[in-house]
Amino acid sequence: MRAGWSTDVGRQRQHNEDALLVVEANQDGDSPLPPFGLFILADGMGGHRSGEVASALATRMVARHILQQVYLAALYQRDHDAEQLPLKEVLVEAVNLANAAVATAVPGGGTTLICALMLGAQAYIANVGDSRAYLVSPEGLEQITRDHSLVDRLVELGQLTEAQAVNHPQKNVLYRAVGQGGVLEVDTFIHAIPPGHSLLLCSDGLWGMVDREEMTRIITTARSPQAACDALVAAANQAGGKDNISAILVEVPGEL
């Protein structure tokens, strides 16, 4: 597993309200744990810098909980058992802890949050908001997550076309975000990343500015995941950089 990441304020905003957090852990020796990766991306919102506080706080809360419940637990104990909290519950709990923390510490602030826990080539994904996860293959980008946005619902219902959604005055309205308080419904996804494929996490500052064909071309021709992320951010800026831009790319090497 090789990962790259990049974030940029873009061309039109004063602050970068996106937050990223990346953890990779590898082990060798007798019966090693599978390669472990934790990739978190959050896109904050709210006035007076509360967006950046919300996104940073949320990524830290989620990382803390998952590392404790999954990675540290696995280091302490070789076999898995029914006493451990299942991964899906850990993810949902982690995002809800972040939700409560943001609601308390940053009233009026909120954030999207996408988190991918990688165990070997298997991705466990939790999502709230409109940041996205894509499976990247040489053939193109397959969107794994669903946006919690008003326009996405309208497209689903056939009330808007994809093209109308892109320019809709309410395209930024989310119906679910971390920091809204209460019990948050969190989407979870399980996806095996086949050899030679990658997992892309990104904020709307990327997917809203650069089309899928262009993103596929950039990723498949880049030398490394890091070079791909830098090029993706550059392409979003080239297209106008209307919002903060963030990308994390995790590549599962092809079979030799």
Binding site: S50, A82, G110, L157, Q159, V173
Partner: protein, 654 residues
């Protein structure tokens, strides 16, 4: 209340008192912290709001704030032109945030035109407009002050549910106002912002509509991501379409919220149909639910044609006898059990599950035999006698039938002739069922071992020692074999016999694992269904039933089906373990379900074979045998095959 007009702004971001929203850029009308200041109009303000005692236009004395939102503030005020009496009014203040002078002027013009129309309305449920004016950055609407509570407040104070008759009564009154507005000449008036917080109950208990959507005039292009949707607005409003039937949608959405107590602003937009009222409030009548559903259609042409029509439907409801949730029906339901195509009597109980392969049905029986029958006619072909009961279910590969017996042997029998090819001894009874892959037969034994046996020679290639009896049937993945033991462990053993991982449930794992690309699914007698990471054994999700899970899972599409000794058949979302439906039978369900053309087939200890509608879990039919059905059905060529403890094998049309 906007009248459709060409320079009306497109539907804009929520900005109402009740909607939480967070903007990436601070809305300009919100000030930092608590700050005293003097507005452009020279009036004293705190946090951008007029202070108590401030005097507007030298006439309206501010008494306090009634409510506030991103776009507007509503004050309680006294009109000093009536010095002898205390004439109260509500003053709605809206901020003009536009910076472009032409846009500013347009906003003021739109406001004054709409306020002018409002002032001409005359209906008891619509508060009177006394006055309107603009001053500096602000525009004001002076309205009749209404004593009472809005329905949002009332709902919050209500324990349990509001009575249906009460809510229908309010809905009818609202229809009356909508009829008045929609028939306004020369242009119909669309209320456009109907929701519980805009509906007041006055001291006489009459409905008053308090907040026309006039504030929308002031919502000029907020930027940045926001949380929260309006929740009650019809989908077409987001395409800039405001028309009378949109108000019917919002009325139905309001009724849905009042009766279900589910706030639509906290749910995915336009998801009312997915959340029928009776799911949270079983007291609501089906007839009302039908009316609500119709008014909530996405397609505007499928709603009621007018407020008059909706009112008639509601009135009819009031006089009708209401029914609460009659049993729903499914297309293709067959209340009568099908007649068996054939049935075959053996000499003892059947606990093994049938397997149909190339026109023959194979099944093990407690009379020590493995039977081969003609699958089409049920005609006896041959039987092979062992020295013990056969509870293991047969498996066919490379022309041989494999199965275990209580006599501790694994058998390979010629599938055509029924002649013995080889046997392989184990040191315990064999209840596990065989699976074949990589040129080997894999099977567990009560001697705690999983055996890998060469398919041609019957020689043991390797044995893997588990902690307890293995009665679970192994599942074979691309590079490992997965099975459970009676000690509660699930094992992943490599093709060479080396342990890859182990997961410990709290009780025995008799259930047989099911594999997908990513996960291993299995039940345990600790009452749970587990999904485990295929490569590491990490638990991904678990679903807790109310009894031991001995049944083995099956997946069709994205749904997993499994039985439990609590008597239920469960359908779970395979990716996250959420319950899709469950169906209660009259006994334990240890049989494993089979899915065929949209139906789930499963046996129960109550003696029935059940056929359930796979998407909904509703009963299609059930067939009664004369003993518990522990055997799992096999479906081939539109025929369900099942064995019963009543000693019979049955073939039924699907």
């Amino acid at each position: 209340m906007p009248v459709p007009q060409e320079d009306d702004l497109p539907a804009q971001a929520p900005g109402d008192l009740s909607t939480r929203h967070i903007s990436k850029e601070a809305p300009p009308q919100v000030s930092l912290g608590t700050r005293r200041q003097v507005g452009g109009d020279g009036l004293p303000r705190v946090d951008g709001r007029l202070m108590e005692g401030a005097l507007l236009q030298g006439r309206y004395r501010i008494l306090g704030v009634l409510g506030a939102g991103g776009m507007s503030t509503v004050y309680k005020a006294q009109d000093l032109h009536f010095p002898k009496v205390q004439r109260l009014c509500a003053i709605k203040e809206m901020t003009n945030t536009a910076t472009d002078p032409q846009v500013r002027a347009m906003v003021v013009r739109n406001f004054e035109r709409e306020a002018g129309i409002l002032a001409t309305l005359n209906h008891p449920a619509i508060p009177q407009v006394y006055d309107y004016f603009s001053e500096g950055d602000y525009s004001y609407l002076v309205l009749e002050f209404i004593q009472g509570r809005d329905l949002e407040v009332l709902l919050g104070e209500t324990e349990g549910f509001l009575p249906e008759a009460q809510v229908v009564n309010w809905a009818i009154q609202i229809c009356d106002v909508l009829i008045y507005l929609h028939n306004h000449k020369p242009n119909p008036i669309i209320f456009r912002d109907l929701k519980p917080s805009n509906i007041m109950l006055d001291r006489q208990g009459r409905v008053r509509l308090v907040d026309f959507g006039i504030a929308k005039v002031f919502q000029s292009g907020q930027k940045g991501t926001m949380i929260g949707t309006e929740g009650y607005s019809p989908p077409e409003q987001y395409r800039g379409i405001a028309e009378p039937r949109g108000d019917l949608y919002a009325l139905a959405a309001t009724v849905h919220h009042l009766l279900s107590k589910q706030d639509p602003r906290l749910e995915p937009p336009f998801s009312f149909h997915e959340r029928p009222i009776h799911k949270t409030n079983p007291l609501v009548s089906n007839e009302l639910q039908d009316i609500i559903n119709r008014a909530l259609e996405y397609d505007i042409n499928r709603r009621f044609g007018s407020a008059e029509e909706m009112k008639r439907a509601l009135m009819a409801l009031r006089s009708a006898r209401l029914t609460v949730r009659p049993a729903p029906t499914v297309e293709g339901i067959r209340p009568d059990a099908p007649m068996p195509l054939w049935q075959f009597a053996c000499e003892d109980e059947i606990r093994s599950s049938p397997l149909v392969y190339e026109g023959k049905l194979y099944i093990g029986v407690y009379d020590n035999n493995l039977y081969a029958l003609d699958a089409e006619t049920g005609k006896f072909l041959w039987k092979y006698p062992t020295e013990g009961g056969v509870a293991s279910s047969p498996w066919v590969a490379e022309g041989k039938v494999f199965f275990g017996s209580e006599d501790r042997l694994l058998y390979a029998i010629n599938a055509e002739t029924g002649r013995l090819v080889w046997t392989c001894p184990t040191r315990g009874r064999v209840y596990s069922s065989p699976r074949v892959q990589f040129g080997h037969v894999f099977i567990g034994s009560d001697d705690h071992h999983l055996y890998a046996v060469n398919i041609a020679s019957g020689r043991v290639a390797w044995r893997f020692e588990a902690e307890a009896e293995i009665r679970s049937t192994p599942a074979i993945g691309p590079d490992a074999i997965y099975f459970g033991d009676e000690g509660g462990s699930v094992y992943a053993v490599g093709v060479s016999g080396k342990l890859m991982w182990r997961f410990r449930a709290r009780r025995a794992v008799t259930s047989s694992p099911l594999l997908t690309k990513e996960l291993v699914y299995v039940g345990s007698q600790d009452w749970c269904v587990y999904a485990l990471d295929l490569r590491s054994g990490w638990a991904v999700w678990r679903y807790r039933t109310a009894g031991p899970v001995i049944s083995s899972p099956v997946i069709e599409g994205t749904t997993l089906y499994i039985g439990s000794a609590d008597g239920e058949v469960y359908a779970l979302d395979a990716s996250n373990g959420y319950l899709v439906w469950r169906y209660k039978t009259g006994g334990q369900v240890t049989s494993s379900p089979a899915v065929y053309e949209g139906a789930v087939y499963v046996g129960s200890v109550d003696g029935f074979l059940y056929s359930l509608d796979a998407p909904t879990g509703q009963l299609r039919w059930r067939f009664q045998t004369n003993g518990p059905v522990i055997s799992s059905p096999c479906v081939e060529n539109a025929t369900v095959y099942i064995g019963s403890v009543d000693r019979h094998v049955y073939a039924l049309p699907v």
